[in-house]
Symmetry: C2
Subunit: 377 residues, 2 copies
């Protein structure tokens, strides 16, 4: 393996423990430039298809292509339209057929270079081409580096719902080049940051406190960024290792997501609200609702809102541009997302910062009353 001292110094490795399917997440500035040698060392002789979107192709593909070429890896690029709409059956077929047309075989590799959309779509395509191709994730959005590239969930959307079709397919390697985030839009960066904060709020109060003190370094691209990405990956990897196929504790990762998804649905997944913004508001609501249920102090919700607002994330439903449904309308969207089981809802609630838990018996009437109060306030 050849690598510059500089790249080696910047690198943090997080191991995802999944038995024979264990793999490394490498995190560091400049990893794109050594992607070729890292992949060649692990998958000698493999040819590669690189799936990416037009935005990421413009910003980052030349560096990856150069690095793969330098390592002697033959590459077929597959460049698709950016945006959530690409997580479709039609685009899945397109990517699958491009990979087949490139005559890649099972020993070759499919590389996803992009945000969560590219990762989810490409991971799914690589799961089904020849019943499973080797797969490398190179996440280029903050959300993808701390969330979607970890855990092996892949998939697409259909008119029936988001992420209802897919596969569990673990990558061989994840390369998170924190420098690649420099070309991400500030809004997308902030949206990803909501998921970073989530890991603190779930079960790591010291990390949340560290974020309060150090977030500026993360945004500015200092070494705090690698620490934040690594801490997030470690946190998710631990949950995933304990519950690969999402039957139990993995649900904690949905903190803020029940409210968030309802708001995303209410705004028709438009750019009125991107996913991380919905999660930001949803996490604040989860803390306030927990306080209303006497599970934690109202101060916790205030502290969460203060920090998320400080980094520039929305924290209140009224910050969403345009009209929102009323409490009944939001409840209907929540019920659609979560399926009411025997009249109660499962929610991620909290006893305080870093003390989230799965509440399986939340009375819908309480949620409705809470939403009504909040919307009318």
């Amino acid at each position: 393996m050849t690598m510059t001292a500089e790249a080696a110094a910047a690198r943090i490795a997080v191991r995802v423990e999944l038995g024979t399917r264990s793999y490394d997440i490498l995190i560091g500035r400049g990893l794109l430039d050594v992607a070729g040698s890292e992949i060649a060392a692990r998958l000698p002789g493999a040819r590669a298809a690189v799936v990416t979107d037009r935005n990421v192709a413009a910003a980052q593909l030349p560096r990856l292509a150069a690095s793969l070429a330098a390592a002697g890896i033959e590459v077929v690029p597959v460049i698709i339209a950016p945006g959530e709409a690409s997580k479709s059956f039609g685009m899945l077929e397109h990517v699958v057929r491009q990979v087949l047309a490139a005559r890649l075989e099972r020993r070759d590799v499919v590389i996803a270079l992009g945000g969560g959309v590219i990762g989810d779509l490409t991971g799914f395509a690589s799961a089904i081409v020849r019943r499973g191709m080797r797969f490398v994730q190179i996440p280029t959005s903050l959300l993808a580096q701390v969330d979607s590239s970890v855990g092996g969930k892949t998939g697409i959307n259909t008119p029936e719902g988001k992420n209802l079709v897919g596969a569990f397919h673990q990558p061989e390697l994840v390369l998170a080049d924190t420098g690649a985030l420099d070309t991400l839009s500030p809004r997308e960066f902030r949206a990803g940051y909501a998921e970073v904060a989530k890991y603190g709020l779930i079960n790591d109060a010291p990390f949340f406190a560290w974020l309060e003190a150090n977030w500026r370094g993360i945004f500015a691209g200092g070494p705090e960024r690698e620490h934040a990405v690594a801490t997030s990956c470690r946190s998710k990897a631990k949950v995933v290792a304990a519950d690969e196929h999402e039957t139990g504790e993995r649900a904690l990762l949905n903190l803020g997501h029940t409210f968030g998804h309802a708001l995303e649905a209410a705004t028709h997944y438009s750019d009125r609200l991107v996913h991380g913004e919905g999660v930001s508001i949803g996490m604040v609501l989860a803390h306030r609702f927990s306080a209303r249920m006497n599970l934690c102090s109202p101060d916790d919700g205030r502290r969460v809102a203060r920090h998320l607002a400080e980094v520039g994330l929305p924290t209140e439903m009224r910050q969403i541009p345009g009209e929102l449904p009323d409490a009944d309308g939001l409840m209907a969207l929540i019920a659609q997302d979560k399926k009411v089981s025997r009249g109660t809802l499962t929610f991620i609630l909290t006893h305080g910062i870093g003390e989230s838990f799965i509440a399986r018996d939340v009375p819908p009437a309480e949620v409705r009353a809470f939403l009504r109060e909040t919307l009318e306030a």
Copy 2:
């Protein structure tokens, strides 16, 4: 579990050992009528989607629907066009969306009622809906009962090739109602029989001898039929248990398939030659080629051809209606199917009946010469 004494008497169970994903294949006349109670006993409370094609729906769906209804299982039927063309991305999307529209959840079940086309397509759809739904196979063609329903391979075709896209997804249960084969066309029945004979030829000479003596009972629907299906399933289950993801010995199941696939491709997968007919000719060719390589006696090929011809299967390339490519054309199709690795071909050859083996170093020139001689004879 409630069942009639009659059904219990007719039943043979074959266990497929795959650790936590082990399951039973039940084989017997009349199983469709107890499918409801068998499924309800294993998957209590599950709702079901039944995917089938129009031919099978007409011949067998009413019995299955009655049995599921009697067991209190709510059913959503999904009826598609018969034929290999249904193993497509478009039909996959259709089936997936029908299952989602039925609001089936992970604890519910998707049932495939039909031949290998329905089993492969439905198994794949159930593998990807919600990243994996429970799945029951009710194979209704002889090929599906002895081959495609065993082993967990699912998938679809694309213009790039057959079965290049799919998943490994094991069923919870396979119900092979040998009585359902009574409505199968004689040509399809014979085609499936080629795969039955294959199990004898691979590694079970006594079974091949038994088939020579008892094939009439299989075709007539006597108890020989259950024995033949069960012996075939046991044989395939053993190979699959040893090599679930097809990295080694599972290749033996391809006896006769390299030549067969080339002939199917040469006839454009038309009804000039159905799959089992290609396999029949291919198995004869594999024995003759093995004799030519001094691996077995020419008598073996003669004996194989005699038996397959006796049941009404084609055994010679010249029996295929219409023009065939010449030896070079067939070699090109073989190379496309198998990928020549470092100038040699991998073939399933044999030391005699029941003594097949994987030959990884077959010189293409020998195969070409053999095909030329055979075509000119």
